[in-house]
Symmetry: C2
Amino acid sequence: MSPLAETITILGAGAMGSALAAPAADNGHEVRLWGTWLDDELLDAVDQGRPHPRTGVPLDPRVKTYRSGQLAQALDGATYVVLSVSSEGLLDVLRKAAGHLRPGQVLAVTTKGFVRLDHRIVTLPHAVTAVLRETAPDGSLDLPLVAIGGPCKANEVAARRPTASVHACGAPGATRRSHALFATEAYAVEESDDLIGVEVAAALKNVYAIALGICQGLAEHGGEPYHDLQAAAFACAVTEMVRLAGPLGGRAETVTGLAGVGDLEVTALSGRNRVYGTRIGAGESPDEALRAMQAAGQTVEGVPAAQLARELVDQLIRSGALDDWSGLPLLRQIADLLGGQEPYGGPQELAAAFARAALPARTAAEY
Amino acid sequence: MSPLAETITILGAGAMGSALAAPAADNGHEVRLWGTWLDDELLDAVDQGRPHPRTGVPLDPRVKTYRSGQLAQALDGATYVVLSVSSEGLLDVLRKAAGHLRPGQVLAVTTKGFVRLDHRIVTLPHAVTAVLRETAPDGSLDLPLVAIGGPCKANEVAARRPTASVHACGAPGATRRSHALFATEAYAVEESDDLIGVEVAAALKNVYAIALGICQGLAEHGGEPYHDLQAAAFACAVTEMVRLAGPLGGRAETVTGLAGVGDLEVTALSGRNRVYGTRIGAGESPDEALRAMQAAGQTVEGVPAAQLARELVDQLIRSGALDDWSGLPLLRQIADLLGGQEPYGGPQELAAAFARAALPARTAAEY
């Protein structure tokens, strides 16, 4: 280990947690991978030298694994802590870990999405900060929080295929640390000070990827491509993400860069949200498609995210930060379809409804 | 025909020219489709009621066809003229047509790309304006020029599948005319005053689509996806197009909207530039791949466009409008590879070279 080596503890041994261990280990750091009470099977596999069940890639042998009971040991002496737990479990894990965190550490989060906190919809880092304040009301645990986003598939990061990530934090010193610790030839780190922009894009892209999947499903159904509609929906998604990021405090350039455009592209190329949309476009109702995927053990993050996004928009309208829904027709269309406010009428009706939502309005009312 | 019907003449009976006849005819206008001396076979097919050989869709029976010798008749009384000829033939056709154009007409162009004019690289509308000035030095033919862009595949437009187009012109009256004449439920028209932004994005997207194709080819070669690299290249392409549009007088929002992001997405989903890139990524040298496609009668617009774009960048640097190449690493990488300045070393080397170009630099030198 080099004299500049640090100790990085990754909480959560799922796909992204185990993947991020790769660039950190490649840079010569001590990397500790802690698994939650749900991760024992994953750690059993990698401890026996088998591929990680979620990425298909063996864990780097330099990485030390810790079981759920070893949280204190895993965090002892860590200088940089990564939270990489599913959004449902994240705040629980954080509450358990908070007592072992120390001033001077950097806390990074790979988990993305909106969560409900005290009857309000907030981004995950917002909730993380609130939990740290509960633990240390004196502010001693107000650690710099880094959101890790960008177009990163865990299996490609683990396999060291070229990946561009975005590490965002209001404090530039923290992203410099991120860059120094994680950037390798294969894993690039773009530093950003727009944590909100990264969070909003990362949460919404799962919702919009369902729409792009629907366009692909329409082609499967009818045998004819709907590439024009998919491309229009892609551009519409970017425009709507820009419109939502602004009132929340994020910047347009973040959404039109790696963290928005890039992440939406990779999510549309593969992943469960895309697959879910494809099933709907090809003829399954949203409920049927969801049941089929759940039966196969696959969660679809975009489904709850669509309803949280709807609540968030309503919240922004009530607070006066947003006028109305008129600039977000595609988001509304997806949320209505998945939430059952709009009945599923099959591919033909779906194509027409998504065209109305994603295409510029026919009446140029602004003139 | 409705009392508000106008006469629209489309010059060029290829894929996009014949496709655009559909929404115009659906709106009840008199649509005339004139074929160049190279289009006789295409017109033979549609005149006999067979599908258009390039789109697979029969021509709307309300559209009247005109052969190359009937240029004057085709243009007589037209109020809106669309130029839809390949970039090599466009200025020739325009010179022949110019004598039949009249003040008060709107001239629209679907053809995109950079061209050489008096030893300078310019966008096509620039060249069109110059030719009109040659014909009428008194300025009487300074017709408002509308660039038609956005994510539009001709076969989908012809088949009336949902499509969002962008019609751009400095004169708002001209795009209002475009909107009134062409917008249908299936074919949406977004009006824009940023003709340069639309042109630059439309010309460059063919070049960048080759890079996205290369990422797809790498997956075919190695059996493992390069989605992270493709998504990073996509976002990098958008950023570079913004950087080039600015010094030429275009706006970032145009590039990050339908005309840039949308058009790049549809070009990456299908089309010859994408296919060409895929062949290179999978193991053929750029020359081999080009020969194979030419043998199948397929031109790859992105190949000459890459070299014209290189000259354009050099021109901008010489004029001081751009500092240097440092903000355009992906464009340079593609131009060098296709132009032979960088030898083809096979998929492995290619992946590394494109990762260096498309990923954020490892050394965060800006800090």
